[in-house]
């Protein structure tokens, strides 16, 4: 839904092969009525909404809503499927994996190319064999929690990693409470790509963790996976006009 007229939407839809409805709110009456008018947008762009997405349930109620701080930052199709709707998308970027102390680690971006402004999710999955667990947070001093970090790349901006729920764990004879992961664990990091003409990037992902049995801990591990991600060029960069 946008404040463009029907003609503009028809052209846009035809040019990009858009099959879903494009609704014309020329004059922004609906945008205003829904409380979404961007009141800080002055002429010649007065009438634009705050950019955002509403996810509706089958019964028409709002399941969730998602706004972006800048018109530049957008979720991709896979990001919307997986993070707004909780549906696992069938296609991802290249998977890289490694195995250490029998814990298998895989990593992938949710697509194999980035475009300027896109928020693409990095997933790191650990497959922890039965009998072992990996520490999460909160964690007592001296122990090593699961951590995922994207090595710095200029104009590539990682957000805070999302970790799943841990299970509580106690060791007989120790007062401390531990929080652990078992089995398959996925950590997800939102990464916003704010660069143009960056070409293909080799993104270094560092995963560190400590695996333990119920009676002993293995040495803390740190491994590095390199994920290639290509650049998808922008289609065009038009200027604002009324």
């Amino acid at each position: 839904m946008s404040y463009d007229g029907v003609e503009a939407l028809r052209g846009f839809g035809a040019k990009y092969g858009i099959s879903y409805p494009l609704l014309s709110d020329e004059g922004s009456a609906v945008i205003r009525a829904l409380g979404l008018l961007n009141e800080q947008a002055a002429e010649p762009i007065m009438g634009i909404p705050h950019p955002g997405t509403f996810v509706l349930n089958a019964d028409g109620s709002v399941r969730s809503k998602h706004f972006y701080p800048s018109y530049r930052e957008r979720d991709t199709g896979v990001g919307v499927l997986e993070h707004l709707l909780g549906v696992e998308a069938a296609v991802h970027g290249a998977i890289r994996d490694a195995s250490v102390e029998s814990v298998a680690v895989s990593a992938w971006f949710d697509k194999d190319s980035y475009a300027w402004g896109q928020r693409i999710w990095l997933t790191v999955e650990l497959d922890i064999p039965a009998g072992l667990h990996v520490y999460g947070r909160p964690i007592p001093d001296g122990y090593h929690p699961l951590e995922v970090e994207l090595e710095p790349i200029e104009r590539v901006l990682p957000g805070p990693p999302r970790f799943p729920e841990t299970k509580p764990f106690r060791i007989d004879g120790l007062d401390e409470a531990f929080h652990v992961y078992e089995g398959k664990v996925r950590v997800q990091v939102p990464v916003t790509f704010m660069l143009v003409d960056g070409g293909t990037l080799d993104a270094g992902v560092r995963v560190s963790f400590q695996a333990c049995t119920t009676t002993e801990c293995l040495a803390p591990q740190s491994l590095r996976l390199v994920l290639p991600i290509a650049e998808q060029p922008l289609v065009e960069r038009p200027q604002p006009r009324a």
Partner: protein, 51 residues
């Protein structure tokens, strides 16, 4: 630009999304809820198709 409280923008989570009828690309009115036909949907508000 002053900070916007995005959480309070637009229809609230849990509330029915209001009825919307607007012209589609062929100029004919599209009733959002009728068009959805009882399926979940994404309603995306974007800046412009022209710029």
């Amino acid at each position: 630009m002053t900070d916007v409280d995005f959480a309070s923008l637009g229809p609230a989570v849990g509330e029915p999304f209001p009825g919307v009828i607007l012209p589609g690309v062929d100029g004919r009115p599209v009733d959002l809820h009728a068009d959805r036909a009882g399926r979940p949907a994404l309603v995306v508000f974007y800046r412009s198709a022209r710029w």
